[in-house]
Symmetry: C2
Subunit: 305 residues, 2 copies
């Protein structure tokens, strides 16, 4: 753990579901004595989070949650992000670290730039904002499924803004490492391109495949079908937000896919078996050369990826 | 085991790789005393098959392998199918059962109809032909990887021709059940439609995805990427044959997919989040309602499916 974490006494979690709740549990394990205050729409949910040990206290107001927090984690649906940042802005300490946990990052960078385009009354600035994307998730959402080990051996991407200080990024990195994750830092545009390519487009293709396939045939699907379509069972609201928010990167990647598919279609239709063999060989070799990044435990779900 | 299997004393395997070799091993276990004669292009391979117990003898000629066989299993690449049927035709006993093991079935039905358009000199007819598709495979091909348990708890589809007798189909069914498989019977066109939908199209999409994706991004792929692309690592020659042979069904299914994808693309591009939510919800519900057919063991590969 970095020495700078010793100064962290109070965490505020705004939006206390699977991601926020698990962060609270895990950071409490890592930093004994840490106060974790939660705020959200549902009092029932917050009390459940407290009961499960994700929070040490339920804050009566947003101001109460945020005012003294050394670290603020905003984990709300994409659609509520900008309003939430506006609401917390007047209450943030000047030296607080502000993070989100969304699956797309340019939107968070843009929202933070808009909200923190000048220092707040307390002196909080964009320099303290560290957008984050923990690549972790479970089939079931909600704080009821939160667990202290959710980030163990998982990857977290940080996408600091151009104004974010190296010290703020380093603190954020130390926090995620303290809960067991490995951390990579990249800019938000690169993040959205990468995850548009390796996660969002596969989800889109799996969704479209499920909608197009003759439903009378799927009872005969085997293990290939099972694996290929697994991500099609992902949560609709989460994936609507991701596909909508990252639409530019996803549509650009989709064009690449359509070009590759057109090449297959042409040689299948014309019976050009040499080209077909070549195209499959390229795909097969590329897949066989790939392996899951080290330090990441295979999971049965990565809705949040 | 059906009582009719007691009359089966001699099996001929033409093309002795993973599929043929495993069938020899498994049927020898099920029918003690069975003679299994093998014939193929490579003498080295046939000797290896005999050493591993898949064959009891290596036949010096195709005629030697087939002449006295009660059951003949042809397991050769699609491109060699018609020539192989022509070559064995004059040697088949009138009451022999002839099966193949290919992943596409209309091509086998058509080839058999063309080769056996009239009774052979020995009196063998189309009535004894039972095209088969064992849904089993492994990552590694070749008789070196054959095993007696390959068909245990797997599904085998039989697609009898319109001339095939119910008795011939029943014997074929009993043979596959004797090696541990469950059997379904359907016509060849339906088979090719079903597997075009649940297996061949997913392979095509996974190949195209791998060819289209920005290679600088895939190091960040997670478990979703891993599962979605697993089938893209399949054998190029096998899948060239399948996509070529079943091109009509595959291209028809591809059109359905393209229509479903266009619907997604339109609402992502226009920002129509209600429709996007609806489309994802349909896909997600359909996938969640699906389950792997009972009696089938998940495998790490289904190249042959």
């Amino acid at each position: 753990m970095g020495a700078d974490l010793l100064a962290i006494r109070r965490l505020a979690i705004i939006g206390c579901g699977l991601i926020g709740g698990s962060f609270g549990m895990a950071l409490r394990d890592a930093l004994p004595g840490l106060v974790v205050a939660g705020y959200g729409r549902s009092q029932t949910n917050l009390l459940e989070a407290q009961r499960r040990g994700a929070l040490t206290e339920v804050a009566p107001t947003l101001a109460d949650a945020v005012s003294d927090a050394d670290v603020v984690l905003v984990s709300v649906p994409v659609g509520a992000l900008t309003n939430t940042l506006h609401a917390i802005a007047p209450h943030l300490k000047a030296d607080a670290i502000l993070m989100d946990a969304g699956s797309t990052k340019q939107d968070m960078v843009d929202a933070a730039k808009a909200v923190f385009n000048q220092p707040t009354a307390n002196g909080f600035t964009l320099s303290q904002v560290v957008p984050a994307h923990p690549i972790a998730g479970k089939e079931k959402a909600g704080v009821a499924h939160a667990e202290a080990t959710l980030y163990q051996d998982r990857l977290v991407i940080l996408t600091p803004t151009t104004d974010t200080t190296p010290a703020a990024t380093a603190t954020a990195q130390a926090l995620w490492q303290a809960v067991g994750a490995s951390v990579q830092v990249m800019n938000a545009a690169r993040h959205d391109h990468v995850f548009g390519a390796v996660s969002h487009l596969p989800h889109l293709l799996a969704f479209a495949y499920m909608n197009g396939v003759d439903p009378t045939t799927i009872a005969m699907g085997g293990t290939g079908f099972q694996d290929f379509t697994r991500i099609a069972g992902s949560d609709p609201a989460v994936w609507r937000d991701i596909l909508h928010t990252n639409r530019d990167a996803v549509l650009a990647q989709l064009t690449q896919f359509e070009d590759a598919l057109a090449a297959f279609k042409a040689c299948i239709a014309s019976g050009d078996n040499d080209t077909l063999t070549h195209l499959i060989s390229e795909a097969s070799a590329q897949r066989k050369a790939w392996q899951l990044p080290t330090g990441r435990t295979p999971s049965n779900d990565d809705d949040a990826a």
